[in-house]
Amino acid sequence: MKILVPVKRVVDYNVKVRVKADQSDVDLANVKMDINPFCDIAVEEAVRLKEQGVATEIVVVSIGEAKAEEQIRRAMAIGADRGILITTEAPASSLTVAKLLKAIVAEEEPGLVILGKQSIDTDNNQTGQMLGALTGMPQGTFASKVEVADNKVNVTREIDGGLQTVGLTLPAIVTTDLRLNEPRYVKLPDIMKAKRKPLDKKTPADYGVEEKRSVTTLNVAPPAEREAGITVSSVEELVEKLKNEAKVLS
C-alpha cells in the first residue's frame, strides 16, 4: 500500500508571531520556519506503517513556496521515498490545496492519506476533511491511534467527550492529533541521503487547478492585550482579592 503525506511549511511553533505595523498580515520576515508539527507526526506515522510492513511506499507532497523543499527533504530524511513540490504564487486556500491533493490522489492511488489535523499558522483544520469530500474517501480525524487490517483502518479519535473509534474502508484519510506518536529526530546521514531522493516540481496548472480565493483577509490585528496583573504574597491575600477586588468569589 502506498501512503500519501501532505506536509506544510509554517512558522516554528516556538515563535510568537507579531502583526505588521500596517495590520495587513503577520510579520514573517526572518522568522524561523519548520514543518508543521502535526505534519511531522503524519510523516512519522507513515514511516512506522512502512517499518511494520503495512506500507510499501511513502510519497510526500508540499504545496506552497519553493522553500518548502526543505520540509519535503526533512520528511524524506525520516523515511519518505519521494516527493512532489507544487509551488503556488500565494499561500493556497485549504480548498485549493484539497483540489490539488485530489488530483495527486487520482494519479498515485494511495491506500491512506495521512495529514496533520491543522496547521499552526491559519489554524483552519479543514484540508483532510475537504479532500475526503472531494474524493469520496472516509476520514478519521484527530487520530491518536491508527490500526490497519484487511482493507480497513480503525482510527481512534480525540473528541471533546473522550475517545471515539471509527472503522473506515480503504482508501481513507487520517488526520493526526498530537498524541498519535512522537516524531523521531532527524539524523545527519539521513539528511544527506534524503538529498538524493526523487522530487517532482510542479505548479497548480499542471493539475488543471486554478489558484483562487473566495475568502480574503481585510485586516490582521494583535489580540486585545491583558492589563498587567499583580503579584500576591499569600493564598490568603489571593482569596481576599478574588472576593473583594475581582468579585469572582462570594
Partner: protein
Amino acid sequence: MSILVIAEHNNSELAPVTRNVVAAAQQIGGDIHVLVAGKSTDSVAEEAAKITGVTKVLNSVADHYEHALAENLSNLVASVASDYGHVLAAATTTGKNFMPRVAALMDVEQVSEIIAVESADTFKRPIYAGNAIATVQSADPIKVLTVRGTAFEPAGLDGSASIESLAAQEDAGISEFVGEELAVSDRPELTAAGVVVSGGRGMQNGDNFELLYKVADKLGAAVGASRAAVDEGFVPNDMQVGQTGKIVAPELYIAVGISGQIQHLAGMKDSKVIVAINKDEEAPIFQVADYGLVADLFEALPELEKAL
C-alpha cells in the same frame, strides 16, 4: 437568505453550545433554521425549537446519523445547504469534523472558528494560536462557518419554532462507529464552566490532581490541564486546554503548575480573571495573570482549599 445551524447533541439532549451558535446566527441576521440529525432525536428537536430566534427545526432521523459520522452528516447538510446563505456549526470536534466536508461538497471555502460577526460576510477569527486576529470577508454564495462558542452569549429559550422532518440521505457505507470511551464526571463541562482550575506538568502525577479536584469542588469548577499533563498521562485528553485542545473563557481561570506556553494561552486567555500559581516567578503565565502567586503548589493548593 436563511441561515442553517447544525445542532450538536447526543441523541437525547441538545448540547448547550448550539445556543451560542444560534446567537452568532442572530448577529448575521435572517431566518434561522436548526438541523437536528440523529437516531430518535424528537426530544432534541423539541429543545431546539425553543431557542430564541429559531423559526424552523429540521429533524432528520436515521440509525446512521447516531454518531454524527462526517461522511453521512456532510451529505445530509449538503442536500439542503443550497437553500441557505449561511451554514453554521460549533467549532467543537464534531463541527470541525464534518463542516469542511460540507464546504468542499458545496465548492466553497470554510471560515473556521469565528469569534465575531462584523457583517453578513465579514468575520473575525484567531490565527497563529490567537497571537493575531484576522478579519476575513467571504465572497462565497454559501458561507460555511464554524463558531467558537465561548465568543457568543447563548441565545435565550423563549422560541417556539415549527418542527419538520427531513428525509435522510443514504448511508455512505464507507465508515462505521466502532466504539467510544467517554469521560464521566460530576463536575461542570469545561467549555461551559464559570470557573476552571487547570493543572500542568508541575502536578507531577495523576494522583496529585486530587489536590486540584478538592479545590475545584469547593468552587463548583471544571478541571482542565495543559498538554504536558495529558502527555505525561496524568489526566485524559478531553481535559486539554489550548490551541489544539478546548477553548475556555470562564469568569475565573486558575492555572496551577502551568508555565504558560503560547499554545496553552491560546485556549484560556479570554478568561475574565486569570490566577497563576507557579514556583517560577519568570514563568510566562504571570504575563497574562491578573493575580500571580509565586509558590509551591503542594503548599498553596491545600491552603487554598481551606481558605475557600
